[in-house]
């Protein structure tokens, strides 16, 4: 079947509308995705496929669709990042330390999606405990980007939500859940030509999501369009008494916010994001983005975020410190893969020494050091003070503008093994995204163009806290102006 009449070529919104118009059944739609996912092992986007799950749920959805009793996401097949606990389905955060952990409970975000009628195709690859920017730290091995250079060179899909971004770019699901601690939704979206939305901190419940850095983690969707992102967020968001930082605010219908009208909106362009090492084509794309938004009636304003350069250093104290506390629970006692030792202390040390991968160990050691007696004030407290200054930068900027426009990443997708020699180089991937997590703001990456090698590049819009409606509205205008229609070919399929 060509892409023309292939159901996997539909967007989430198109599939939803097609199901309701009875152009095809949920069973047919799901089978198309199940078949495509089954042939995608070369990409390693799915680390666990759940076709029975999906097809059984599709039957139930067809019954509801037949009775005109469809819920918002009725019969729509999704992929789930392996950081989300799924009842009865193995969840490992792509770490050996969790072994074959099978949660007896469901994360709030996925529970919301299933309650709205969506169904699960399987669990998606990610960097171990979401620590990475290339999906190469996964215990299940690297995930490949469906985009390659013309010479056929294999590239990373970004990270940590690399399975989610690769799956959506390769049409292995209508949408995917993802999480973003320093850029883990937006960076992989930019590297795969997809849309990645990190909502405001507190918009989605973190309950049942494997914790990395609790004051920074936030769940969001990766989709092919901004409209799909709005539809997904409407279902994912909401208050949850089990996450005391989730906010008790009405969830708007985000799709209804997509009016296409951004006349009079003030778009800030932060001068500190113009870094020396930025490739010219990204600089040019950024300028193009400003022109697109101006042509749509927005006003472009120069703003300053003076503490930007300190965001990554602050992040590399705060995130590891929180991780060292959060990951203390993996001790081989109650769940996961235990490694026996001479006594209980030895058991802890072996379990953690063998169970955690190198990057996770590095971060746990940094975090432990930053929190240890004598260093706490110099590192951790200092980083928290700088974090406040970074958040204040945004507050000051928002006195002059409504949204910010920046590139999402400093480069397009890069080859595998690139960051292995130097962990710091890998950290620089998050230079434009990490500020948003530190300030708890929403941000979205929209595919905006191709570089000289034919690889996708993204532009990022940053909103005010709980300003997702305005953010999505502007993102859709940007998406439409960019008219990004390039697609990777199916070099990876096996039949």
């Amino acid at each position: 079947m060509g892409q023309g009449n292939d159901l996997t070529a539909l967007t989430l919104a198109q599939a939803r509308d097609g199901l309701r118009a009875k152009e095809f059944t949920a069973r047919e739609l799901t089978q198309s995705f199940v078949d495509r996912v089954a042939a995608s092992e070369k990409l390693n986007a799915y680390i666990l496929q759940t076709p029975e799950h999906a097809l059984e749920a599709a039957e139930r959805s067809d019954a509801r669709l037949g009775a005109d009793d469809a819920r918002p996401l009725e019969g729509l097949p999704l992929g789930v990042k392996d950081l989300f606990c799924t009842r009865g389905v193995r969840t490992t955060a792509c770490s050996n330390i969790l072994g074959d952990f099978t949660p007896p409970y469901e994360s709030k975000v996925t529970e919301n999606l299933w309650a709205d009628g969506a169904l699960m195709l399987g669990k998606l690859n990610n960097d171990e405990f979401a620590m990475g920017s290339s999906n190469e730290t996964s215990a299940y091995g690297a995930c490949l980007n469906p985009w390659r250079t013309d010479a056929g060179e294999a590239l990373v899909p970004g990270g940590s939500s690399g399975g989610s971004s690769a799956a959506i770019a390769a049409r292995l699901g209508l949408a995917a859940t993802a999480t973003d601690t320093g850029g883990s939704i937006r960076q992989p979206a930019a590297l795969t030509g997809t849309v990645g939305l990190k909502p405001t901190y507190g918009r989605c419940s973190r309950w049942g999501i494997v914790a990395f850095a609790s004051s920074l983690d936030q769940a969001g969707p990766i989709t092919r369009t901004v409209r799909d992102s709005a539809i997904m967020l409407t279902s994912m968001a909401g208050h949850d008494a089990r996450d005391t930082t989730s906010v008790d605010m009405v969830v708007p219908d985000y799709e209804a916010a997509l009016t296409g009208d951004i006349r009079g909106l003030r778009i800030g362009v932060p001068k500190e994001y113009r870094i020396d090492t930025m490739p010219l084509e990204i600089e040019a794309l950024w300028q193009q983005g400003m022109d697109w938004l101006r042509d749509a009636g927005a006003e472009i304003v120069d703003v300053s975020l003076p503490h930007t350069k300190y965001a990554l250093p602050a992040y590399y104290i705060i995130a590891p410190a929180e991780a060292s506390s959060n990951l203390a629970r993996y001790d081989g006692v109650r769940y996961g893969a235990r490694k026996m030792g001479d006594d209980i202390d030895d058991m802890y040390a072996r379990t953690r020494g063998e169970g955690f991968g190198e990057e996770v160990q590095r971060r746990l050691l940094i975090g432990t050091y930053a929190l240890s007696a004598g260093y706490y004030d110099a590192y951790y407290l200092k980083a928290l003070q700088v974090r406040r200054l970074i958040a204040q930068d945004f507050e000051n900027a928002y006195e002059h503008c409504d949204l910010l426009l920046t590139p999402t990443t400093p480069s397009a997708a890069f080859p595998l093994d690139k960051g292995q020699s130097d962990p710091l180089e890998m950290y620089l991937n998050d230079v434009f995204t990490v500020t948003v997590n530190l300030a708890g703001l929403p941000g979205i990456s929209v595919p905006a163009g191709l570089d000289a090698k034919g690889l996708p590049l993204g532009l990022q819009l940053i909103g005010k806290a709980f300003g997702e409606e305005e953010l999505l509205r502007a993102a859709q205008v940007l998406e439409e102006a960019a008219g990004f229609s390039a697609k990777p070919d199916d070099w990876w399929t096996s039949s």
């Binding site: 952990f101 099978t102 006594d343 240890s372 590192y379 200092k382 928290l384």
Partner: protein, 89 residues
């Protein structure tokens, strides 16, 4: 130093890995050293992006009663308990 931190973090690190790890950690700490340039005099530490009073729930038992679920993923269990190597001799 690395050995001490690894001990605090309860992570066993092989001796032959220590030198490389020390180098990597020094590089990361060197990178974060930039923070000392920032004047943070009288700046209150930022502890949560959510500027709100966290809701308190009723002080009541709201969960529990399913020990099989709790023990389902245990590496070792014994008579309804998690089992570990002897802690007290």
């Amino acid at each position: 130093m690395v050995r001490r931190i690894a001990g605090l973090a309860r992570i066993q690190v092989d001796d032959d890995k220590l030198p490389a790890l020390a180098k990597e950690l020094s590089a990361i700490l060197g990178f974060v050293e930039q923070l000392s340039e920032v004047d943070t005099e009288n700046v209150k530490p930022y502890t949560s992006p959510v500027e709100m009073q966290i809701k308190a729930r009723a002080d009541a038992v709201t969960d529990g009663g399913y020990p099989e679920d709790i023990l389902a993923n245990a590496p070792e269990k014994d008579d309804g308990y998690f089992a570990v190597p002897k802690v007290v001799e």
